[in-house]
Structure formats: structure tokens, C-alpha cells
């Protein structure tokens, strides 16, 4: 057995005349936490649905644990695969406890210790019917179900939507802990900060095609800082400044730019400026960095 947990090869899915994804290929190794990022309609869910065997690929192959996966036999890999999505439908007439117990039986697991650990982390309301639960509590139940069988591979589609900030934090801690245990995680998320926070690798999808596959740490470096300086004097140039915008105001010349160089050089440059009226330095958000990436890839 190789250390490739998931292999997607030239995956294409067409719905009638529309091609949702085209020639999507990637491999995920054991223990990787991979963020699958793209705008709405980029093809994230179609790729995930194909991986899980919910839909049948028009072309291409999916291998999970070295076995070719199709809608007919996908259930075999699900014995070692957990899944949760942000909009996951759960059986509303069951209580959270009943649903988790039913799901646990399908994995043929009698030991509840892992389930109890997860209940302790998320503290969901298990005695209530799922139909009466808030969205956040339903999401907790879905996440517990995804991790309770200690799967080797966890596929998550917008997993933390609906969770409050505290629970979102607990979820990220769980992902880190799972990574230490050697679990492989493939997750799409709209919260890009959490992708950067926990993922080791990011796959960027745009208009149904993979446009970039890179280590997550590159994203924070590429993000850089936004620097804004207001001065009445002419300013010296700064190496590494990009996207410079200059505006004359009553307070002086207002200059803003993106800086991707070293912090020490920026500090030295700011220290040497005469009679500053105002200045600010802020980290670029991951969203800005991704937008930047998107623009670069499309150009």
C-alpha cells in the first residue's frame, strides 16, 4: 500500500451541456491536511461529491486507499472515511444521540469512547430532536459523526459554517489533533483564515479546474502587508512596495502600498521618514491574498 490516501485523476463531471469540473487531478498523502479553496460555483462540491460516490464522474478516476471508487462501491471506502458538510441534512425525527448511535452501528463499532471524547469537545444537545436544534448544534452532531469512527480520511465541505467562534476554535484544535494522529483531512472552507491556520497544503480551483496546488505557508507570505503613510515631505522609495496608490489630501500626501519584503527593511524605512503625519501597517487578509492569487492565475 502506498502512502497516497486519495488520488483524483483527470476527473471531469458534466451536467447536461455544462461542465462543472474538467480534468481535476491531485493526490493526497497520509497525514496531509489539504484545503480545497475556490469561489462559489468553482467546482469544490462537485469534486467532493464525486470523491464520496454521490455522483458518477463523466471521465477520470478516483482512488481511495488504493481502490478505484465508484458510486457502486464507494461504501467500502466509507468504512474508513468520515464526511461532514455545512449544509448536511440529518434525520430530524431522531435525537442527536439516536442519530449518532445509528451511524456508529453502521461502522460496526461498539466502543463509544471516541464518541464520548468528541461529545466532550463539542458539547452538543443530544437529548433534543435534531429538528429542534439550532444550526450550530446540528453542525456539531454532523462533525462528531464524521470523526467518531476514527477514520483514516476525513472529507469536509464547509465544515465550520454555523459554528460560533468558540466552537470554530475547538473544531480547528480537533483538526490539529487529528493531524497529529495521522488522519488525512481534505476540507473546503469559506473561512480562509481557518484553511491557512490548519492546512498544510492548499488546492485552488477556479471555473472547474485546478489552478494552483501549493504549501499553505506560501499563502501567508504572499499575503504581505498593507502600508499607509501620510507625510508633508517627499518620501524615499522602498524596495518590495507594490500596487502603490498616491493621493493628495489637506493633511499631506497619502500613500498606500502592498509590501511583501522583510519586516526589518520596512521598519528601517519607516524609521527614516521625516515628519510623518500618520501611518498604519496591517497584515493582508487571506481573502486578499487569495483574490490576488486568483487574479494572477486568471491573467
Amino acid at each position: 500500500m502506498t502512502n497516497i490516501v486519495l488520488r483524483v485523476e483527470n476527473l471531469t463531471k458534466r451536467f447536461g451541456k455544462t461542465t462543472a469540473i474538467r480534468d481535476v487531478s491531485f493526490k493526497i498523502k497520509t497525514g496531509e491536511v489539504v484545503g480545497f479553496v475556490g469561489l462559489n460555483g468553482a467546482g469544490k462540491s462537485t469534486t467532493i461529491n464525486s470523491i464520496l460516490g454521490f455522483i458518477c464522474p463523466s471521465d477520470g478516476e478516483i482512488e481511495i486507499f488504493d481502490q478505484l471508487s465508484t458510486p457502486t462501491n464507494a461504501f467500502k471506502s466509507h468504512q474508513q472515511l468520515g464526511f461532514a458538510s455545512g449544509d448536511m441534512a440529518l434525520f430530524e425525527s431522531l435525537t442527536g444521540e439516536q442519530y449518532l448511535s445509528f451511524a456508529l452501528h453502521q461502522y460496526k463499532i461498539r466502543d463509544r469512547s471516541r464518541l464520548d471524547e468528541l461529545i466532550d469537545i463539542f458539547k452538543p444537545e443530544l437529548a433534543k430532536k435534531i429538528g429542534d436544534l439550532s444550526r450550530g448544534n446540528r453542525q456539531k452532531v454532523a462533525l462528531i459523526a464524521a470523526f467518531m469512527a476514527s477514520p483514516k480520511l476525513v472529507v469536509l465541505d464547509e465544515p465550520s459554517s454555523g459554528l460560533d467562534p468558540l466552537m470554530q476554535q475547538r473544531f480547528l484544535e480537533l483538526v490539529r489533533a487529528e493531524q497529529e494522529r495521522g488522519t488525512t483531512i481534505f476540507m473546503s472552507s469559506h473561512y480562509l483564515n481557518e484553511v491557512v491556520d490548519v492546512c498544510t497544503r492548499i488546492i485552488l480551483i477556479r471555473s472547474g479546474q485546478i489552478v494552483r496546488d501549493f504549501p499553505a505557508k506560501e499563502l501567508s507570505i504572499e499575503g504581505g502587508k498593507t502600508v499607509r503613510v501620510v507625510s508633508r515631505h517627499k518620501l524615499p522609495g522602498l524596495k518590495g512596495a507594490e500596487d502603490v496608490k498616491i493621493e493628495k489630501t489637506a493633511r499631506g500626501t497619502d500613500i498606500s502600498f502592498i509590501y511583501k519584503g522583510s519586516t526589518a527593511s520596512l521598519q528601517a524605512w519607516l524609521g527614516g521618514l521625516p515628519q510623518l503625519v500618520d501611518f498604519s501597517v496591517s497584515d493582508n487578509t487571506v481573502e486578499m491574498a487569495l483574490e490576488d492569487l486568483y487574479e494572477k492565475e486568471s491573467s
Binding site: 461529491n49 464520496l52 460516490g53 454521490f54 455522483i55 458518477c56 458510486p71 457502486t72 462501491n73 464507494a74 461504501f75 467500502k76 466509507h78 468504512q79 464526511f83 449544509d87 448536511m88 441534512a89 440529518l90 434525520f91 425525527s93 431522531l94 439516536q98 448511535s101 445509528f102 451511524a103 452501528h105 453502521q106 461502522y107
Partner: protein
């Protein structure tokens, strides 16, 4: 709730309770009205005055002389199949396309459950629910007959209920098959309703409208001749038709369901 079959039965517990109660009550009411129908007088003269075309709905007046033939013509014939068709459409449509519409089929498929197992457990649960309501119908019939001090032959009631169950399972399997093969709720409900209504019209009016007689074979109710069964005529071919329909639609839909894209 160790498996999907038991979970489905649990999920549908209020549906089972409601329909069982309704069937038992309907049977009970029909039985306790028997003395009124049987005593001649106003009801019989009213029935005699009805047009010939309505004979299919009213039934043969000679059938009113015995409880078993009365029940066969007034309850098991047409009325109960129509009543049960509504149940079959709601049940089979809800378990298949209804759950798929709500995304629940994907939730089940994310577990280590094969599509084949999902298909079989859901179908078996629908059959079990139909059987439970049929038992309620038998209980209601017996309670009513006990109250009016009349007896109904056990064998006749079992054959009437047994073939009615098979007819229900056949109709339910057709709707189930459309639901699992397409995942489209509106289509499933529409086809189920069309089958029930067209069958009702064909079987009801074929008795008195000559040109409809040849079309009556297309009706799912045609193979459930309740008055004939009560008079002692049991045709194995009727049972065979339902069995063939069940097997055929299930095999085709099973093959499609295992390979198709899931909605939701």
C-alpha cells in the same frame, strides 16, 4: 436502531400509528353498518334507484346478504384500494424521492452503507409498514363483527387481506421504483396519482361501460376482484401479476439506483 430498516420503522412510527388507526376504524365502521345494509328498507331501495353506470362503485346488491360478500364489495373492492393507494404514494414517495430531496440520501450514502442495502432496507420497511396497517384492518374488522354479533370466515378475510397487501406492495413498488430511479418527487407523486386515479376510473366504470372493459386489464385494481374472492373464486394469475410487477420494477430501479447521481 441497529440498521436502516429499524430506523425507517422508527422514523415512520406516527405514520404507522395514524394509518393503522385509520384503517382499523374504517373497517370497524364498515362492519357495524352491515346490519343497516342487510335489513333491506331505505338503503337498499336507494341503491336500487342508482344508475347502472354506478354499479361498479355500489357493488352487486346480492352481495349484501352475507357479511363477507358485503365487506368484499363495499370495503375491499375499490374503496380500500383507493384508500391504500394514497398511503402507498405518500409512503413510497417520501422514503425515496422525498428523503433524497431533503439531502438525507446523501447523509446515508456517506456512511458505510451500500446503495443496494439502502434500497432493500427502505423497501422492506415500506412492506412491513403496509403489512402492519393490513393487520390493523383485520383487527378493526373483527372488533366490528364481534360488536354486531356476526362472524366472518377467517380464510376469506385472510385471502382478501393478503391479496390487498400484495396489491399495495405492487403499487408501492412501482412508486418506490420511480422514486429510487429518478429521485424526482414531483414525478414520483404524479405517476403514483395517475396510476391510482386511472385504475379507479377503469375498474369502476368497466363493469357497466362496454368500451372500457378491454382497458380494465391496465388497472392495478383489476387483479383484485374482492367480490369474486368472497364468493370463493381465487385466481392464482391475479397473485402472479402483482408478483411479476413487483419483481420487474424493483430489478430495473435497483440497477439504475446503484449507478445514478444522487440529488440534493
Amino acid at each position: 436502531m441497529r440498521n436502516l430498516f429499524l430506523k425507517t420503522i422508527y422514523d415512520k412510527r406516527w405514520f404507522i400509528f395514524g394509518w393503522s388507526l385509520g384503517m382499523a376504524f374504517f373497517a370497524y365502521i364498515m362492519v357495524i353498518f352491515y346490519p343497516t345494509f342487510n335489513s333491506g328498507g331505505l338503503v337498499q331501495s336507494m341503491l336500487k334507484g342508482m344508475p347502472k353506470e354506478w354499479q361498479g362503485i355500489i357493488g352487486n346488491l346480492s352481495d349484501l346478504t352475507h357479511l363477507s360478500t358485503y365487506l368484499a364489495s363495499q370495503m375491499f373492492n375499490i374503496r380500500m384500494p383507493m384508500f391504500i393507494s394514497v398511503m402507498a404514494i405518500i409512503l413510497a414517495g417520501g422514503l425515496t424521492a422525498g428523503e433524497e430531496d431533503r439531502g438525507l440520501l446523501r447523509t446515508l450514502s456517506a456512511l458505510p452503507l451500500s446503495r443496494g442495502r439502502i434500497f432493500i432496507h427502505k423497501w422492506l420497511a415500506a412492506v412491513a409498514i403496509s403489512a402492519i396497517t393490513m393487520v390493523a384492518l383485520i383487527i378493526g374488522t373483527y372488533i366490528g363483527s364481534w360488536q354486531i354479533g356476526q362472524s366472518i370466515e377467517f380464510k376469506t378475510l385472510m385471502i382478501l387481506s393478503g391479496l390487498l397487501l400484495l396489491m399495495t406492495v405492487a403499487l408501492m413498488s412501482v412508486i418506490f421504483a420511480i422514486g429510487t430511479a429518478t429521485g424526482r418527487r414531483s414525478l414520483t407523486t404524479a405517476v403514483g396519482t395517475i396510476i391510482a386515479v386511472v385504475s379507479f376510473v377503469l375498474t369502476t366504470f368497466a363493469a357497466s361501460v362496454d368500451w372500457l372493459k378491454s382497458w380494465d386489464r391496465l388497472s392495478i385494481f383489476h387483479y383484485y376482484p374482492a367480490p369474486d374472492i368472497a364468493r370463493g373464486t381465487v385466481k392464482l394469475s391475479d397473485w402472479a401479476v402483482y408478483a411479476v410487477v413487483i419483481v420487474a420494477v424493483l430489478v430495473v430501479s435497483f440497477v439504475i439506483f446503484r449507478r445514478r447521481d444522487l440529488n440534493g
